[in-house]
């Protein structure tokens, strides 16, 4: 291991990057663009669910129920219809997602002390929104049912009763419940994955493709020096992206950063190192840019996006796939990011994740340098 030789490779690589301003611009612009898009545009929060109402009862009781739907921030009553055909058309044309049908005799049944059923019709083709809408609608009905019950009890008993139990809700970590507060931190992981998969592995695959790698390997350079030297340049690029993402997240989007910024940088550096070694390994295996790109996408970007818990909760996945997520480094990094940003926890909670990232980075570094050596032999 010779620092001078490592430095020389790093210098060459820096020059390569600077000489290709278009790739450089894209490497800096893509993350920023993703960040702005996610921060401003994308939200997973479901509210203002477009709702149609079909009221067959037309009584004060039914109007009171409709007013509750209208008043809730989760529903947006778009209109009133008077037949099922209109509901069908509304759903077919994506004009509504939920239809509430209040049956004839709704108020009469209530007065008689029975339990009339309110029909909820949901467009299941958007299953996620539909199941969330269903949860909100059913709890709204449960709340209404409770109030009706309480009213009846008081009327009949002629006495005042307090509601026996009252939930005291407190939301921790993200009290205003904004999805950008967890999406923006998670994006750092995705962005680093892109840098690693699209830039590192492609650049090196190109050297394999053009034969420049063989020449490099025939010099006294050792594989580990080569890997480290090459990485230095991309690492700098990736780290600029990390700092940009943190700054934009905090300054532009007002995402809270409650934990230690130092720990955040350190764990990002470890993750970045591992992801880049992985990129180099992929390029050594693929040796062509097209293939390196495809393998890079499959092994780093897709799992980073889908299996890391970034947007899709791991706990909801089937057990077999949950097992797979344990070997996805992004999973640990996302936990660290959310922990540092939103929960403000430190190493005392996150040490296990950090340890895994270190182990992963070292392992991949080792395998990548070995693979390089084999290629020459």
């Amino acid at each position: 291991m010779n620092l001078r030789r490592t430095r020389a490779v790093a210098r060459k690589e820096f020059l390569h990057i600077l000489r290709d301003p278009r790739s450089l611009a894209l490497a800096l612009a893509v993350p920023l663009f993703l960040l702005l898009l996610f921060g401003f545009g994308l939200t997973l929060d479901v509210d203002r669910i477009p709702t149609l109402v079909y009221d067959l009862d037309h009584t004060p009781a039914s109007r009171e129920l409709i007013a509750r739907f209208d008043g809730s921030r989760y529903f947006d009553v778009r209109g009133y219809v008077d037949n099922y055909g209109a509901i069908e058309r509304g759903i077919d044309r994506d004009q509504c997602l939920l239809a509430v049908v209040i049956p004839k005799g709704f108020a009469r049944e209530l007065d008689a002390g029975r339990r009339p059923a309110v029909q909820l019709i949901l467009d299941g083709s958007d299953s996620n929104t539909a199941s969330i809408a269903r949860g909100y609608a059913e709890s709204l009905l449960a709340g209404y049912g409770f109030d009706v019950q309480a009213g009846a009890v008081q009327r009949k008993g002629g006495i005042d009763l307090n509601a026996p139990v009252r939930p005291e809700l407190r939301v921790l970590y993200n009290s205003r419940l904004e999805s950008k507060n967890y999406i923006v931190p998670g994006l750092i992981a995705v962005i680093l994955m892109i840098i690693a998969a699209l830039i590192t592995s492609l650049t090196i695959a190109r050297e394999w493709e053009t034969g420049a790698m063989e020449e490099l390997l025939s010099t006294p350079l050792r594989p580990s020096e080569l890997v480290l030297g090459k990485m230095a340049a991309f690492f700098t690029l990736g780290f600029v992206d990390v700092i940009t993402s943190i700054a934009v997240g905090v300054l532009v989007f007002g995402v809270p950063l409650r934990g230690s910024p130092l720990l955040l940088m350190a764990s990002s550096a470890i993750f970045l190192f591992g992801a880049m070694c992985q990129g180099i390994l992929v390029s050594a295996l693929a040796r062509s840019q097209l293939l390196a790109y495809q393998i890079g996408m499959i092994t780093s970007f897709l799992p980073g996006f889908l299996l890391s818990g970034f947007v899709y909760s791991i706990a909801n996945m089937p057990p077999a796939i949950q097992v797979v997520t344990y070997i996805v480094p992004a999973r640990y990094f996302i936990t660290i990011l959310k922990g540092i940003y939103l929960k403000g926890v430190g190493l005392d909670v996150l040490w296990g994740e950090v340890l895994f990232l270190i182990a992963f980075a070292l392992l991949v570094f080792f395998v990548a340098t070995r693979k390089m050596r084999q290629k020459v032999a």
Partner: protein
């Protein structure tokens, strides 16, 4: 002319399929995406993981716990004994919420006062958090309602016993009868897998088209091609047709797998799906061609294609519902051809809609496709001349 186009087409197809690894490229990414989206991705919170912090230890507290367990929405994973433990569970993300029954809960209830139940929700994932809050409120009000009715009944029974008559105090309430159309079990896979068709087709055609052309530039064979009698238009057709064909092949492959492996309903017309795919391919091949004209190296081509594809994918409504975006972004999404194809594919798969409902989307695709492909073809033509 057609003979020359065919020759390039043949060369391109051979070049692409010659390499065993390239053949893998055509099969493996779609397969992995299918598996992940078919099995793994699921935004639903069916069962929330909670911790139960009981500081009261009375029968009433145990009743409340039973109400939570019986609701089907909660699974109690931990029984912390102190608030500190509960906080730790939330910090580590082991549970999504903690329900705290405060001391004297039972006594307050017996006194007829309002007893608070503490609910701490991890808000990190905002969507899950609001749903959990809403489930919690639902269970607690159900519990409260039952409790009230029982109390009332006990009182009434006591007083009617005194009066010597028996009445049955009714307890009116409301039931929800939920009916879900098109996807009765609310399977996420029914929502995502049709979208994978779009995703893969876009990715494969944009990327492969751009890279195949730029590769010739990078290794210098483009010049050789240009000194042959092949004209730019012929070269362009010969270069893009194989990837359009690959696109069709992917549509068929993924649709087949979706139907056979995942049992996704397919209610519309397969013919219409193919026709719409053709319209969509105009746009993607056009974008790929355009990227190839602005890139000198394959890396630039990949980055360029990604630069188009990432936002197009995000704004398409594939994973993030367009309805929830801010208005400005919603308007922006109308410029995204992927958006229209997603609506079409979901409509055909799940709702069985036909041309009558889908024609605006098809028209938009046709418009964008001719525009993008036309502009790129002109640009490509100029660059070669």
């Amino acid at each position: 002319m057609w003979r020359r186009v065919f020759e390039i087409f043949r060369k391109e197809l051979r070049q692409a399929l010659r390499e065993p690894r390239m053949r893998i490229v055509l099969f493996v990414p779609p397969l992995i995406q299918l598996i992940v989206f078919g099995y793994a991705v699921n935004l639903d919170v069916n069962v929330a993981r909670i911790a139960w912090l009981d500081m009261d230890h009375t029968a009433a507290a145990r009743d409340l716990r039973a109400a939570f367990e019986g609701s089907g929405h909660f699974r109690i994973l931990a029984n912390p004994v102190s608030e500190r433990d509960a906080q730790m569970l939330l910090d580590r993300g082991d549970v999504q919420a903690v329900i705290g029954v405060l001391p004297n809960f039972g006594r307050e209830l017996d006194r007829g006062a309002t007893a608070p139940v503490q609910v701490l929700v991890d808000g990190t994932d905002s969507n899950t958090a609001s749903l959990i809050s809403s489930y919690t409120t639902q269970v607690i009000s159900g519990f409260a309602g039952r409790r009230m009715v029982n109390e009332q009944r006990a009182k009434l029974v006591a007083s009617t016993m005194a009066a010597g008559t028996a009445v049955n105090p009714g307890a009116p309430s409301v039931d929800a009868r939920t009916r879900v159309w098109f996807n009765p079990d609310l399977l996420s896979r029914n929502y995502f897998v049709p979208g994978v068709v779009v995703n893969i087709v876009a990715l494969v055609t944009i990327m492969l088209t751009a890279m195949a052309i730029v590769r010739e530039k990078e290794i210098g064979t483009m010049e050789q091609l240009m000194v042959t009698p092949v004209r730019p238009l012929e070269l362009m057709l010969g270069k893009t047709l194989p990837f359009a064909l690959a696109g069709f092949f992917e549509v068929a492959l993924i649709t087949g797998a979706a139907l056979i492996v995942f049992g996704i309903p397919f209610r519309g017309s397969p013919l219409l799906l193919m026709a719409c795919s053709a319209l969509f391919l105009l746009s993607t091949v056009g974008v790929g061609l355009f990227v190839s004209t602005v890139s000198e190296t394959q890396q630039q081509a990949v980055m360029g294609a990604f630069f188009f594809f990432a936002p197009a994918f995000m704004l398409s409504g594939f994973a993030f519902p367009i309805r929830n975006m801010p208005l400005a972004v919603q308007i922006l999404s109308y410029l995204d051809p992927v958006r229209y194809f997603i609506s079409i594919v979901r409509g055909i798969f799940l709702k069985g809609t036909g041309v009558a409902e889908l024609w605006p989307h098809m028209l938009a695709l046709l418009l964008y496709g001719t525009l993008i492909l036309g502009a790129s073809a002109l640009r490509f033509h100029k660059r070669l001349d």
